[in-house]
Symmetry: C2
Subunit: 181 residues, 2 copies
DNA sequence: GTCTATAGTGGGATAGAC
DNA sequence: GTCTATCCCACTATAGAC
């Protein structure tokens, strides 16, 4: 049995007001990025003062952990659907991954550009997000990590504008999928 | 002819005092990371006050551009050497890349985790850093980008502690090199 | 549930004297 | 080349009144 995490950000049944705050935080994140996600600006968006948020959520880190958990859940949905709807799962997963990151670039950064506070996440959500990729890798977790590394590298370098303008990234994605097939 | 960059961070022949400041900044970066690299802390390390730095370097961004340019030059040296010393360039480049990132993790983050201020870099240095990889990709720049994405993904996910503890990352690197061979 | 007030910490950058 | 003084910005978080 896996022990229960020692720190929990928010009750399993999240309180209604906390729910509203998290939703506003998600909007703020999507619109202004991780740097724009401050407690002051979040409060401003809610029409309250920053200290009031702390009556509903214990810390900024806990708030981020909720957003990250929801991001993993959304990715898991998309990944499971991509596998269901395709008979060539690996490139389908790649396309879904790229689409997810590009649809929510700031959420994607929040989810990936830091160490994971695993104790604060929804239990089991990281494993659920990983499962479709591991299955596409024929059950080999090391190979699954290679796939993830390629996809993450492609996505984050594209988001950061690191590839030159003329780059044919569609072709590069296909080359990667072919290499790992 | 390529036009000269419109903004230059530091004269080509860098002044001696500026040289000392950049060296101290490199030490500070390596020891305390990108977040620890502030003008105040840098000044403290030099035994002066922060405003004095601005008599030698125009901005923090210019200082970072010098550090990034030097990082590219160091990587280029290592990459060129790895290709010279091996008759299987692709895995050798991968090992060199991983070693470079792990030897200078904070410099590596500074070099990769943001948009590149290309106008402020040493002219030509980005192309020189990319050349060995493009040659290992048989001259195909799109394939070279796939290689880079895989390597960067592996490195940055490892630096961020995103892979589970039991991961066999040596094996994953080999799998990646084999896939792209 | 929200408020005011405030603590404490950090940051980049500039003006002008010496 | 360095200094003091200062500006402005930002942030998380807490105490205690209402």
């Amino acid at each position: 049995m896996r022990p229960e995490p020692t720190v929990r950000p928010v009750p399993d049944e999240i309180a209604p007001r906390a729910r509203e705050i998290v939703s506003a935080a998600r909007e703020l994140l999507e619109e202004e990025g991780t740097e724009g996600l401050s407690m002051r600006r979040l409060a401003e968006r809610l029409g309250i003062r920053a200290p009031s948020i702390y009556k509903h959520l214990p810390s900024k880190q806990a708030l981020e952990a909720v957003l990250i958990s929801e991001g993993f859940a959304e990715w898991a949905e998309l990944a499971e659907q991509a596998v269901r709807d395709s008979d060539d799962p690996l490139p389908a997963l790649g396309r879904a991954y790229r689409r997810f990151a590009q649809s929510h670039p700031h959420l994607y950064r929040l989810m990936t550009e830091q160490a994971l506070a695993r104790d604060m996440l929804t239990p089991g959500i990281e494993a659920r997000a990983a499962r479709p990729v591991i299955e596409a890798a024929g059950g080999d977790p090391d190979l699954a990590r290679a796939l993830w590394a390629f996809a993450h590298g492609m996505v984050i370098l594209e988001l950061d504008g690191r590839f030159p303008d003329g780059s044919d990234l569609d072709r590069t994605w296909r080359q990667g999928a072919a290499a790992f097939a």
